[in-house]
Amino acid sequence: MADKGLTNKIRQLRFDNHEMTQQQLADKAGVTRQTIIAIEQGKYAPSLPLAFKIARAFGVGIDDVFEFDDHHSGS
C-alpha cells in the first residue's frame, strides 16, 4: 500500500493552516483519521481523487502536497 517514491508535506501544511488537526483534515477529505495518519507517515499511498481532496482541503495544488521521486519508487 505504500510507495517509497511518494513523499508529502501534510504535517507542515496542517500546521501552516491554523494547526489543523488530523481529524479536521480527515473530515474535510472524507476519510478516517487513521488513513490521514498512514498517509502522513508515508505508509499508504492515496488514490488520485483522495490526493486531490487533501490538496483542496489546504487550498493548494496536488504538487504542493505530494512529491514523487522515480528513483525511489517501489513500482
Binding site: T32, R33, Y44
Partner: protein
C-alpha cells in the same frame, strides 16, 4: 479507533467467545459426560446479549460527527483480509479432511451432526482469522494505522 477496527475487534472477541462456549460444551458433554443445564444456558445467553449490547454501543461511538463509515484504505484492508480468510477456508477444510482420514481411517465414518459442528467451528475460526488479518494491517494499535 475507526469503525472497521472496532468491527474487527468485536468479531474477534465474539469469535473467541464462540470458540470458548464450543470447547466448554464439548468438554461438558463428552469429557465430564454431563448435559448443559437450563440455568447454565440462560447465563450464557444473558452474557452473549450483554456483550452484543456493549459491542453495539462501542460501534455507535464516532471519532467525530463527520467521520465516514469506511474509506478507500479500509476497503483495501478488508479486501486483503477476505483473501486471507478465503485461502484459510480451503486450508482448514483440507487439513480437516486429511486429519480425519488419518485419525478415523480412510474407511471410517463420522456422525452427520459432527459435520455441522465442524462447519460452524471453521466459520468461527475464519471470522477470527479475518479479524486478525484486518487488525494486523492496522498494526493492532487503535490510534495509529
Amino acid at each position: 479507533m475507526n469503525k472497521t477496527q472496532k468491527g474487527a475487534w468485536s468479531t474477534m472477541m465474539g469469535g473467541f467467545l464462540g470458540v470458548s462456549i464450543y470447547v466448554g460444551l464439548y468438554l461438558r458433554m463428552f469429557v465430564t459426560r454431563k448435559m448443559p443445564t437450563t440455568v447454565g444456558a440462560i447465563w450464557v445467553i444473558a452474557g452473549a446479549f450483554l456483550l452484543t449490547g456493549l459491542v453495539l454501543y462501542m460501534n455507535q461511538r464516532k471519532q467525530s460527527s463527520a467521520e465516514v463509515e469506511s474509506d478507500e484504505r479500509d476497503k483495501i484492508i478488508q479486501k486483503n483480509a477476505v483473501l486471507v480468510a478465503f485461502i484459510c477456508v480451503w486450508l482448514l477444510l483440507f487439513i480437516f479432511s486429511f486429519a480425519s482420514g488419518i485419525i478415523i481411517g480412510v474407511d471410517g465414518s463420522i456422525p452427520v451432526w459432527l459435520i455441522a459442528l465442524v462447519n460452524v467451528g471453521i466459520l468461527n475460526i475464519i471470522l477470527m482469522i479475518y479479524s486478525v488479518a484486518v487488525l494486523v494491517q492496522y498494526k493492532w494499535r487503535p490510534g495509529n494505522g
